[in-house]
């Protein structure tokens, strides 16, 4: 992950757009919390530049 984040950063993609977290099926509450938080953080970063490219191509 460390490597991937740095590589993405070098390529112009914000490293915080990728996250890993181990979750077990017994941790339902934590999972929901993690995902909701992630969605909030991502929204703060704004639209992904790759998405804009895909829209342009289409």
């Amino acid at each position: 992950m460390t490597f991937l984040k740095k590589l993405l950063e070098f390529s112009g993609i914000h490293p915080e757009r990728v996250r890993t977290r181990w979750v077990s099926s017994a941790e339902a509450v934590e999972f929901v919390h993690e995902v909701s938080e992630f969605v909030e953080d991502i929204n703060k970063l704004g639209p992904n530049p790759l998405r804009a490219k895909a829209k342009e191509a289409a």
Binding site: F3, K6, S11, G12, K53
Partner: protein, 264 residues
């Protein structure tokens, strides 16, 4: 520089220590890889300096792997620069070459070439002739690091858009030896689509270069679209060096953090 090399190889051949020497030969103005089995052939030996220093380098390691597969019990010698030797050291660890079957004939690169390559170590340990050049600064990577995130994205987007998926970078890479390559996997890479997924295609290759890329620059030389691949893979090497303390091709024992498969 080639006299010392010629003599070293001549000795190995006449003493029967090697079956052949994998080097370069110049004929009718062309430089090409060649396996010298007879000392008489050494008159046409070239070191890959055709019109400029190091302008006709070829992936000799890759050819060495083919020879080793066809003749696993024979010993060969191979011409190596600083980068090639890094490659050979890794190939030993990746079990593609056998340490006791490969003799290295090392040449050092002049400062002009070392600077152009921004080489970490422009001479091999097994140096027979040539200068022990100085390490050059990594300006190409630094110039991209200076850019803002969205500028970087734009930069790479433009570069990768020129890719025609010739796979020259992968084909010429002396460290690429996989029988099944991700870049040709029908499920992952669409056929008939050019440029390939931007930037995913190139980032995937970059990830595969972890612990493999020896910074020889042959990929960038082979790219018909002049994409700064070497700069991207240099960054990969930098990240691995900083985060994992691993420098590709410097150690004979220490394996890359991505080399975890044991081959019995």
């Amino acid at each position: 520089m080639s006299t010392k090399i010629k003599e070293a190889v001549r000795a190995l051949l006449t003493e029967g220590k090697i079956k052949g020497f994998l080097g370069l030969r110049e004929e009718s103005g062309n430089v090409m890889p060649h396996l010298f089995c007879d000392p008489k052939e050494l008159d046409s030996l070239s070191l890959g300096d055709w019109k400029k220093s190091g302008d006709t380098r070829y992936p000799l390691n890759q050819l060495m792997i083919q020879l080793a597969m066809a003749y696993p019990d024979e010993t060969f010698a191979v011409l190596v620069r600083g980068c090639d030797e890094r490659g050979v050291k890794e190939l030993f660890k990746w079990k593609q070459l056998a340490e006791d079957r490969v003799i290295l004939i090392g040449i050092g690169c002049p400062d002009e070439l070392a600077k152009a390559c921004e080489c970490e170590k422009p001479f091999p340990d097994s140096l027979i002739d040539g200068p022990k050049g100085t390490k050059a600064e990594n300006e190409k990577v630094a110039s991209i690091d200076k850019l803002e995130l969205d500028e970087r994205f734009k930069f790479w987007e433009i570069e990768f858009n020129r890719c025609v998926k010739c796979l020259g970078c992968r084909n010429i890479c002396p460290m690429c030896f996989c029988n099944e390559c991700t870049l040709e996997e029908a499920n992952l890479v669409d056929t008939g689509e050019v440029p390939p997924a931007n930037p995913t295609f190139h980032l995937v290759r970059a990830i595969h270069m972890v612990g493999r890329c020896i910074d020889c620059g042959l990929c960038e030389e082979a790219c018909p679209a002049d994409i700064p691949l070497r700069t991207l893979y240099k960054k990969v090497g930098e990240i691995i060096s900083k985060e994992f303390g691993y420098k590709t091709g410097f150690s004979i024992d220490e394996k890359s953090p991505f080399n975890i498969i044991e081959v019995k």
